[in-house]
Amino acid sequence: MTRRDFSERDIHMALDGELPGEERMAYDAWLEANPEMKARSARYIADRAAMRAAFAGVIDEPVPARLRQVVFGEMPAKAPAWRSRWWLSAAAAVVLALGGFGGYVAGIDSASRGGDGDDKLAEQAIAAHVIYAAEKRHAVEVPASDKDHLQTWLSNRVGLKLVAPDLAAEGFELIGGRLLPAGEQGKAAMLLYEDAKGERISLFVTAESSATSKGTYTAEGGGPEAVYWLDKGYACAVVGSLPPERLSDVAKSAYGQLLAGISS
């Protein structure tokens, strides 16, 4: 019989069927001689049984029709992006937890969050849009009539060179802007625009270390869409309930002008 020292690691290996057969007897003897390890092993065995039991029923559920259809080539129409829906609910759960346990979260979140966060950016931008675009009289803090001051003020606060893009070619006039919190410490500028029909879009801009990314984002339950990009230290999102092509055109124009503004 092989003689060797066992450790906690072997508890996992034994549980997962990875302990070589010839070591089994020596392991069992070790477990008998170490009540603490034996108790730990017993708890892990019970947890595994509970895990298996919790998900056992899934195997017997009928396969949903939509999954069968995928295999048999009748693909249900859906957005081209892979990152379509399922993970949004994971993100939604995070937001839910954030809202519900804000106090608990506040201390931990800042420590664990890294620099990148394009979905978070989009969520913040959408949340701000939903709140302020609906405001008739108090949508902005500084009106477009004071555009120079608006740009200087927001640039200083957010810490980025910021120009309010001219979106007249896309049919949108600047209403004004406001300063908002972003992340834990950060600040964001929100610029609100309106077209002749009263449709509003917003541009949300904040500083974002070095991440580079772009995409679109809609909350699972629908609502406004965000077209966002992270580049050159800027994190921007254009939010609105426009047809996707139009929103994308607006976003391209805004992006181009912001970039041009940096180098001017």
Binding site: M51, R68, R83, R85, W86, W87, A93, A97
Partner: protein, 172 residues
């Protein structure tokens, strides 16, 4: 071709179980399975005939899962989903869960996605360390440490829950 499709179809129950343990919510889990199947069918040629589709499909699904979870996780997902999240995130009405099942599902959601995947792959799906390491694309040592940490973390969370439950009973 049709043999391949039949083989894929027969793996769906296991893919759904894996997805459910990763994501908990039934619809989200099925969305993940759907994404996985769509990607698999586009890449049927990558699957060597004669080989079980299981490892191939699990690999595809794992990549889809982990790519997105990394983004969520950077925002502190692991840290901000305490056990109470299960109370906020109500289970679907058609899902009858015992308290024990619910507790273990919640606890599983609260550990990091990497550890969750490693643990579930071995403890529920029954893959060997070698297979699981291959599917997850990590060295065996990394896999083992994720499993060990995952189990410890899960146990700690479950102990917290039962402690909290007994405190509540005392308070009432």
């Amino acid at each position: 071709m049709d043999d391949k499709k039949a083989a894929i179809l027969s793996e769906i129950p296991r893919l759904r179980r894996y997805a459910r343990s990763l994501l908990r919510d039934r619809d989200s889990a099925d969305d993940l399975v759907q994404d996985c199947l769509e990607r698999a069918l586009l890449r049927l040629d990558n699957w060597q005939t004669g080989e079980s589709p299981r490892r191939w499909l699990f690999t595809i699904m794992h990549h889809l899962f982990i790519d997105q979870m990394r983004k969520v996780n950077r925002r502190g997902e692991a840290a901000i989903l305490p056990l109470e999240a299960g109370e906020a995130q109500a289970a679907p009405a058609d899902q009858v869960e015992t308290i024990a099942s619910r507790e273990i599902m919640d606890a599983l959601q609260a550990i990091s996605p990497d550890r969750r995947a490693a643990l579930v792959m071995v403890a529920i799906e029954g893959f060997s360390y070698a297979e699981a390491a291959n599917i997850l694309g990590v060295p065996a040592g990394t896999l083992m440490s994720r499993i060990a940490r995952g189990r410890e973390e899960l146990r700690g969370l479950l102990e917290d829950t039962s402690r909290r439950r007994s405190i509540r009973i005392v308070e009432k």
